[in-house]
């Protein structure tokens, strides 16, 4: 007998539905619906009281209309009235209407709550279930307030019917999710956990969802559920297919409950109790074994149910990540599924393997399936599956297979679905960078990426390739050559033009020797793309042009002609016009020297976390990016790296694009001409006392901002030869008022001699004056010269004392020597007082390139291939003083794990060893 007998339904409803279905047009349908709505409204408002049947019929009609996507703004009151009916059918339709149509902030909640309260206390299980359903469906805070205390009691009471228990468990779960603060488990905890032992499987099924949620929030309180879950699971897994009767689904005992139990266990680490753990491992093994048994039915439902359990078991094994034996079995099982004819299984296998790839025990095992996965990427008909394959390739990539995987992903990109291209591009870019052994491969890959999927290459990707090229001089020539070739394609993507413009503007000189890529050819090639590009790209190209004028004076006339043309100098876009005007002026007014300074090559970008990775994380959610870059890098932003411009305009950045405002790391340089000259402006120092904060920053470099406060900025440039040094000090008046009685003096320790050229006593507002100091080193020294500056600003006397960054290492002459020489000299300097050693914690990142740059900045020669340990650095140099020369050897041993360094110096003079050691130890 069918459970729903047809024909005894509501005739009026059937007629209405048929009418709607017979409507030929949307308009007719709306008309019919409006007519019905008017009818129902009049019936509800009418004087005659409607009987339950009519109310039910009209409410059903409203439900139907709502399903068709029309707003229902009345009938709620009638539905609430139905709730208090004694008739099941009427009550039920009332609850249905409310759970479909009432949202949590309805004003009716109080009335509804009243009805629910009555039904909950009715002791009629059907009514109780209806009420519990309604609470679970609406789940509002008011309901939680009203019932959060009552429901746990119903749940654990001995006389509650099973079906009510089930509903109560899920109802409580819903309230807990909506208002966790109102659901206090406390005293109920252990009784709820023990529902896992309930006779009735339906109760366990409902309760386990509740317990899983509560456990994930308060794992400690619900710890006891682990052993109960294991024993329940074990009973199910070992039961025969007929034991559980109705809960056996296509010959699989309780598949849903098994999955849920395995999920619950994933909230916890492996059980500590040996017996429990043994039992669980046994279960997992049984599940894995069953996968190999011949199926008990050919029906797909049978294999689905069996595999649902299997996949959950594998998830648990991966979650524990502690049983190598099980992990490898899991991996083999997934490997089988990769080739299964069921698409669903292939999909799920790829998905599970992704998590498996991150386990150290199974990473290698996963890698053996690379060919299958690549094949899936190429041949699967289903985009969902291809996407999982791409995810897995990304997860299994390491140094050994990066080239193959990146190549495959690139070739897939040509035909990839539009929906996943952007993500693929990010992944290729990340892998290419992370596993780049030689950077020419990296450049090739990214340029290919732009060629194949230019539209999907986000800004971050092409920023990144430029940063890397700028930071690595070994790849610059290659990059220029490659990008030049790529630009020769008749149609190339705008992103390629951007990269091309930037790289040729910086490094075009490296390929200018070849007549096929002479400066003019390069320029003409770039300019041929100009008119096809958007405004930001054109702006970038204009900057590249002015850089060309500096790199290749012979192109000056041609480029000036271009800049002078009406389409540039009168361009309707303000940015382009401004650039054209400024660059034209700059190129005609400035001397070659000035031009060379202003348009100097970009300094290396600071290394931070890759912004591409950040973008992928944002796109996929934090959990989705399993691959972390080993050496975190990020694009420096272009804007903060302006080399200085001759105009204080907002577009003072030479190669910046306005649309790419930096998110971080920008120096406070906006608009200030003075600051821009020294782009490395550090935090401003205070004027009180002698300031050596700036001093230590100059041990390994010669140029930068020495001091800055609200009034004054002091920049420094210095050069040293033998035992002589010359220092240029730039005093910038940051105010608009003149400084008067401006006077500077230098007091030197006896080991140094200095000569300072005196300045005019007036420094105009906004002006900058330059002062030269000559220094001679007589013998080795410790104390630095002191610079004292006095001036009056608006009547107030300002007095600033600074240590001038003249340190003993400035007089180093680098000495190249072979390994044998080095060790011989090292041994010669073996007396204890000749050596100085310090062990200290790293206070900055331990990036190789940064370390090298600092050691070179120290003034010594960095000796490659001398230390047997490639992680270590050794340097050699001779300190030149008037009295004597002091040979000096250095060894720096970084320990990346401990974030520590050991620094050893040996020299022929003990004071020198000690001083250099002290100075250098502050630098890392």
């Amino acid at each position: 007998m069918p459970a729903v007998s047809k024909g005894d339904g509501m005739r009026g409803l059937a007629v209405f539905i048929s009418d709607i279905r017979n409507c030929k047009s949307k308009e007719a349908e709306i008309k019919r619906i409006n007519k019905e709505l008017a009818n129902i409204r009049s019936k509800f408002k009418g004087d005659k009281a409607l009987d339950g049947y009519s109310k039910k019929k009209y409410v059903c009609k409203l439900l139907f209309i709502f399903l068709l996507g029309h707003d229902i703004d009345f009938g709620h009151m009638e539905a609430v009235n139905l709730l208090s009916s004694n008739k099941y059918t009427e009550k039920q339709i009332g609850y249905l209407f409310i759970s479909v149509l009432v949202n949590s902030n309805s004003e009716l909640i109080r009335l509804i709550n009243n009805a629910i309260k009555n039904d909950l206390s009715s002791r009629n299980p059907t009514f109780m279930c209806l009420a519990l359903h309604c609470i679970a469906n609406v789940g509002s805070r008011e309901m939680a307030e009203a019932f959060a205390g009552e429901i746990p009691r119903i749940l654990v009471a001995g006389d509650t019917m099973d079906s009510v228990k089930q509903s109560a468990a899920l109802c409580l779960l819903r309230l807990y999710k909506a208002s966790p603060d109102l659901v206090l488990m406390g005293e109920w905890t252990s009784r709820v956990v023990h529902l896992l032992n309930d006779q009735h499987m339906g109760v366990v099924t409902a309760a386990i969802s509740l317990i899983t949620c509560l456990s994930s929030k308060n794992p400690d309180e619900f710890k006891t559920c682990v052993s109960l879950a294991v024993s329940r699971l074990s009973r199910i897994v070992s039961s025969a297919s007929t034991d559980l009767q109705d809960y056996t689904y296509y010959f699989v005992p309780a598949p849903w409950l098994s999955c849920k139990l395995l999920r619950l266990l994933q909230c916890y680490p492996p059980p500590e109790d040996g017996a429990v753990k043994g039992r669980l491992v046994e279960c997992l093994e049984t599940i894995l074994n069953k996968a190999q048994e011949p199926p008990k039915s050919k029906k797909v439902q049978h294999s689905n149910a069996k595999n649902a359990i299997l996949f959950e078991a594998i998830s648990l094994i991966i979650h524990y990540d502690s049983e190598p034996n099980l992990l490898v079995r899991a991996c083999n099982q997934l490997g089988q599924f990769l080739q299964h004819r069921e698409t669903n299984l292939r999909y799920l296998a790829l998905e599970s393997m992704c998590t498996l790839a991150s386990s150290e025990f199974s990473h290698e095992a996963v890698k053996t399936h690379i060919e299958t996965v690549i094949n899936a990427l190429k041949t699967e008909r289903d985009v969902s599956v291809r996407q999982r394959a791409a995810d897995l390739l990304y997860a299994m990539c390491d140094r050994s297979n990066a080239k193959q995987i990146v190549a495959e992903m690139l070739s897939y990109l040509e035909t990839a679905d539009y929906s996943i291209r952007e993500e693929m591009v990010l992944k290729v870019a990340i892998l290419a960078e992370k596993y780049a052994v030689d950077y020419s491969w990296y450049v090739d890959t990214i340029l290919n990426l732009i060629r194949i999927a230019g539209d999907y290459v986000s800004e971050e990707v092409w920023y990144r390739v430029i940063q890397i090229v700028i930071n690595r001089d070994d790849v610059q020539g290659y990059a220029a050559k490659t990008v030049f070739e790529a630009l020769q394609a008749p149609a190339c993507h705008e992103n390629m033009v951007k990269v091309g413009g930037y790289i040729l503007g910086e490094f075009g000189n490296l390929i200018a020797g070849d007549p096929r890529s002479s400066p003019l050819v390069q320029f003409n090639l770039l300019h041929s793309k100009f008119h096809l590009c958007s405004v930001p790209t054109r702006a970038l190209l204009l900057s590249a042009y002015i850089k060309f004028i500096n790199l290749f004076p012979e192109t000056k006339a041609t480029i000036q002609e271009v800049l002078r043309s009406d389409s540039q100098i009168r361009n309707s876009d303000v940015e382009l016009q401004q650039r054209a005007v400024e660059y034209l002026k700059l190129s005609s007014i400035a001397s070659t020297d000035v031009l060379a300074t202003v348009l100097e090559e970009m300094p290396p970008f600071p290394e931070r976390e890759s912004s591409i990775l950040a973008k992928l994380k944002k796109k996929k959610g934090p959990g989705a990016v399993s691959v972390e870059l080993e050496d975190g890098k990020e694009r420096g932003d272009y804007l903060s790296h302006s080399n200085g411009s001759s105009t204080p305009s907002p577009s003072a950045d030479l190669l910046g694009l306005r649309s790419t405002a930096p998110a971080s790391g920008a120096t406070p340089s906006a608009g200030s001409l003075l600051v821009d000259v020294f782009s490395e402006a550090g935090p401003s120092a205070t004027s009180a006392g002698v300031n050596d904060d700036g001093f230590l920053r100059f041990v390994c470099k010669n140029n930068g901002v020495l001091f800055e406060n609200q009034l004054l900025q002091i920049g420094i440039k210095s050069e040293y030869r033998q035992n002589l040094g010359r220092m240029y000090l730039f005093y910038g008046n940051k105010t608009s008022v003149q400084f008067v009685s401006f006077n500077t003096t230098v007091s030197c320790p006896g080991e140094l001699q200095s000569h300072i050229l005196q300045l005019e006593p007036l420094v105009e507002g906004g002006a900058q004056v330059q002062q030269v100091i000559n220094i001679e080193c007589l013998t080795d020294f410790i104390d630095a010269p002191l610079l004292n500056i006095k001036f009056r600003y608006g009547g107030a006397l300002q007095n600033i004392s600074l240590k001038l960054p003249v340190t003993i290492n400035k007089f180093f002459q680098p000495t190249e020597m072979a390994a044998a020489d080095f060790f011989q000299r090292w041994k010669q300097l073996s007396q204890p007082q000749q050596e100085a050693q310090k062990i200290f914690k790293a206070s900055h990142g331990m990036d190789t390139e940064v370390l090298k740059a600092k050691l070179l900045g120290l003034g010594t020669a960095l000796l490659e291939n001398v230390d047997p340990n490639p992680e270590n650095y050794v340097c050699a140099g001779v300190i030149q003083t008037k009295a004597q020369q002091v040979g000096c050897l250095l060894r720096l041993e970084p320990n990346a794990q401990a974030q520590m360094y050991r620094l050893t110096l040996r020299s022929s003079k003990d004071t020198v060893s000690q001083r250099v050691c002290d100075l250098l130890a502050e630098q890392f």
Partner: protein
């Protein structure tokens, strides 16, 4: 957790929508349309899983669906649910409907929306699975029907009499029920994919 259960036909007409999270009515309709768009363009014989549409949480959620004759059954679930488990659940749902309606077809869902909701309520509550045992579900539904009948016996009689009379005055009535749809009845279960 199950975020939503949607049933629509091959043309995207919704036949049942049940959301376990609150969305505005407009958004609900948009989600149905978006889901239909995502699901209907897929070939037969591809897998039953895909990432959720933007409106319902994007790749955080999965759409798990089955296509039976003229109807799509789509469950939108988060990552805490087992994909194959949900596929089984859809199958249980459909088999249950089939038992309750004796060879369920699209028309049954249209004319008995309330019944379908009631059956679903016996399986899923607040987005969590309440019961997976088909016999248990059917027992509950049967019990409800009995109560309905007994009530109809007293109060429903006049109404039925009235409608019977009305029916006599409406000889064209049967034609109004779109009989054409009956040909798309799901024949029987084994042919289900």
């Amino acid at each position: 957790m199950i975020k939503a259960i949607l049933i629509f036909n091959n043309h995207g007409k919704p036949r049942l929508s049940k959301f376990y999270e609150h969305y505005s009515e407009d958004t609900e309709q948009q989600i149905i349309r978006e889901t239909f768009h995502l699901v209907s363009k897929r070939d037969e014989n591809v897998c039953n899983f895909l990432e959720g549409g933007m409106l319902i949480g994007g790749s955080e959620n999965k759409l798990i669906y089955r296509h039976y004759a003229t109807l799509y059954f789509v469950f939108c679930v988060d990552s805490s649910e087992s994909g194959l488990g949900i596929l089984d659940l859809i199958q249980v749902f459909v088999e249950t409907l089939d038992k309750c309606f004796e060879n369920v077809c699209e028309l049954d869902l249209i004319f008995h929306v309330d019944k379908v909701h009631n059956i679903l309520a016996e399986m899923v509550m607040g987005g969590m699975v309440l019961e997976t045992n088909m016999n248990e579900i059917i027992t509950q539904v049967d019990a409800q029907n009995k109560m309905e009948k007994s009530e109809a016996g007293i109060a429903g009689a006049p109404a039925r009499a009235v409608s019977a009379v009305k029916n006599m005055n409406l000889p064209e009535m049967p034609r109004n029920i779109n009989i054409g749809d009956i040909s798309i009845k799901v024949p029987n279960l084994p042919s289900f994919k």
